[in-house]
């Protein structure tokens, strides 16, 4: 869905107060259940460059400074990190990692973090924002990926036909929100009644007894990621 559709579907006309509404970035506050949440989003297949990282980190830190315990919801539509020499010159990975650290500090200060992919989420653009949340969601027509299959075939030298055939059975490499659901990254994929789903998701994070990352376990329960949980356990306690 587009950003307009997203805001309408999740908040209607009354429950959303924009603060910034630029082509590729937006923030503001919105009603989620019986709480007010800070909304931080990317739009229009945004490229995540140095400047966008700083804006998002500023928004997270402002919430932490001024609004104790307030939930933060990321709404994401990004084509990934900006692929420019200039951003790399300045150390884009450092800016992106900074955003991840800001998310962790917010979590520790008691801010529930949720993320919803509503457009596209591609690798680097998703890692330090949406993937840092306590609970990650996507809407049904969204896309999450590292790379499309033709490009993957070119780089790995595995024939495209073979990748396409394997993708029907394995969630492990091909694009799609359902794959990320099966592998335990997404808690759920939403296809309607969005305001209620988001309020329930927030209540679930609020009620959780710990911040423990349970995605490996979820991936195993859903049959999409069987190796990770037992290996991590063996290294942690073996």
């Amino acid at each position: 869905m587009t950003r307009d559709e997203l805001l309408h579907a999740f908040f209607g006309a009354e429950d959303w107060t924009p603060h910034t509404l630029d082509e590729h970035y937006f923030d503001g506050r919105a009603r989620v259940g019986n709480e007010t949440a800070t909304i931080i989003g990317t739009a229009g297949r945004a490229e995540v460059g140095v400047d966008l990282c700083l804006r998002m980190a500023s928004a997270v830190l402002e919430c932490v400074r001024k609004r104790p315990d307030e939930p933060i919801v990321f709404f994401l539509d990004t084509q990934g990190q900006r692929l420019r020499r200039h951003d790399e010159l300045l150390g884009l990975n450092g800016y992106m990692a900074h955003l991840a650290k800001c998310c962790e500090v917010a979590r520790r200060k008691g801010h529930p973090l949720l993320s919803v992919v509503y457009g596209e989420a591609v690798s680097g653009g998703y890692l330090t924002t949406g993937m840092m949340a306590d609970a990650c969601y996507a809407v049904a027509d969204a896309e999450i990926k590292v790379m499309n299959l033709p490009a993957m075939a070119r780089i790995t030298k595995v024939p495209l036909e073979k990748l396409q055939a394997l993708a029907k059975e394995s969630p492990v490499f091909s694009p799609g929100v359902d794959n990320y659901l099966r592998m335990g990254h997404l808690r759920a994929v939403w296809s309607g009644d969005y305001a209620t789903r988001l309020a329930e998701a927030l209540a679930e994070v609020r009620a959780a007894s710990s911040h423990e990352d349970r995605r490996m376990q979820l991936g195993m329960e859903r049959g999409g990621r069987m190796a990770a949980a037992p290996i991590a356990e063996r290294v942690a306690h073996g």
């Binding site: 700083l54 010159l89 990975n93 800016y95 500090v105 490499f173 990770a228 991590a232």
Partner: protein, 292 residues
């Protein structure tokens, strides 16, 4: 005697860094923890999935250590590789070593198992940030032949401190990827000098992205690791506020720069064109005068 860090295998690096005889590996290759996904794509597997995890001592102090093998699929992160690192971080939260040492040598997410790799990188990022907030210190070493790119470039910058060699490369997107998308005039990946001025160890040190710069010598990396293990642990609002101010200042100062040379000149390096040729000691002396 000098022994090249970049030319060594991950295992040689681990053994060369730690106190002699102190290394103990968790889930060693004899346990056959290989990727379950590579065979269906007719790819060879490694019995440690390209990641060594273990414990040892460094200058007498207990540490946990992980090392990526850049010679296996470019050190890329797959499901098992990533899960081993997550397990090591969990272990660190329980055991409280003096530090967790991570030897980076990776192009990022392994495309053959891209979704599993991406999720694994995000789990590592979360685990490191959480462990730091719990008081575990992380030290990253960057000097492997595959560099430190993509998701591993993010993991490295979530560590408390980084040592990099002059030959080390630390970035998000590799030059080849940028050239493929935006053309050779945006980033000529075959211009080695340019690649080093953008992603290389000296530039990263001058920017303040790393804490130490070493020669390509295992003994030098060991000395850096010992020095960096000593330091505060924690991840607080004040820490990220300070980092935010530094990163915002960098953006203000250099947002119109196109090349490392422009950045170094503006930092106050008197002869930026000489920087690539300077020996490490001479370079460090000049860099420490001007780096933020």
């Amino acid at each position: 005697m000098r022994k090249s860090y970049s030319e060594a295998s991950a295992r040689e690096r681990v053994l060369g860094l730690l106190d002699a005889g102190s290394f103990h590996e968790f889930v060693p290759p004899s346990e056959r923890a290989s990727s379950p996904h590579l065979a269906q794509l007719d790819q060879p597997v490694a019995f440690d999935d390209g990641l060594i995890a273990g414990r040892g001592t460094l200058d007498g102090k207990p540490i946990l250590i992980a090392a990526q093998e850049g010679r296996f699929l470019g050190g890329a992160v797959g499901e098992v590789h990533g899960a081993k690192l997550v397990g090591l971080i969990r272990r660190a939260v329980a055991e409280r070593p003096a530090a967790v040492l991570i030897l980076f040598d990776s192009g990022g997410v392994r495309l053959h198992e891209a979704n599993a790799g991406l999720i694994a990188v995000s789990e590592i990022l979360r685990a490191i940030c959480a462990a730091r907030a719990d008081g575990v210190r992380f030290v990253g070493l960057v000097g492997g032949s595959a560099g430190c790119f993509g998701g591993t470039g993010l993991i490295a910058r979530c560590c408390d401190a980084i040592a990099i060699s002059e030959e080390g490369r630390l970035a998000m997107s590799g030059p080849e990827v940028i050239e493929t998308v935006h053309g050779v005039e945006e980033f000529d990946s075959r211009d080695r000098a340019l690649v080093w001025r953008i992603t290389g160890g000296k530039h990263r040190y001058l920017l303040g992205e790393t804490d130490r710069i070493c020669t390509d010598d295992i003994a030098d990396f060991r000395a850096a690791a010992i020095a960096l293990t000593d330091g505060p642990a924690g991840l607080t609002l004040e820490d990220v506020e300070r980092e935010h101010a530094q990163l915002a200042a960098r953006w203000e100062a250099f947002s119109d720069c196109a090349d490392g040379l422009d950045v170094w000149r503006r930092l106050g390096v008197a002869a930026p064109e000489d920087v690539p040729m300077l020996a490490t000691d001479a370079f460090t002396a000049i860099a420490d005068e001007v780096r933020p």
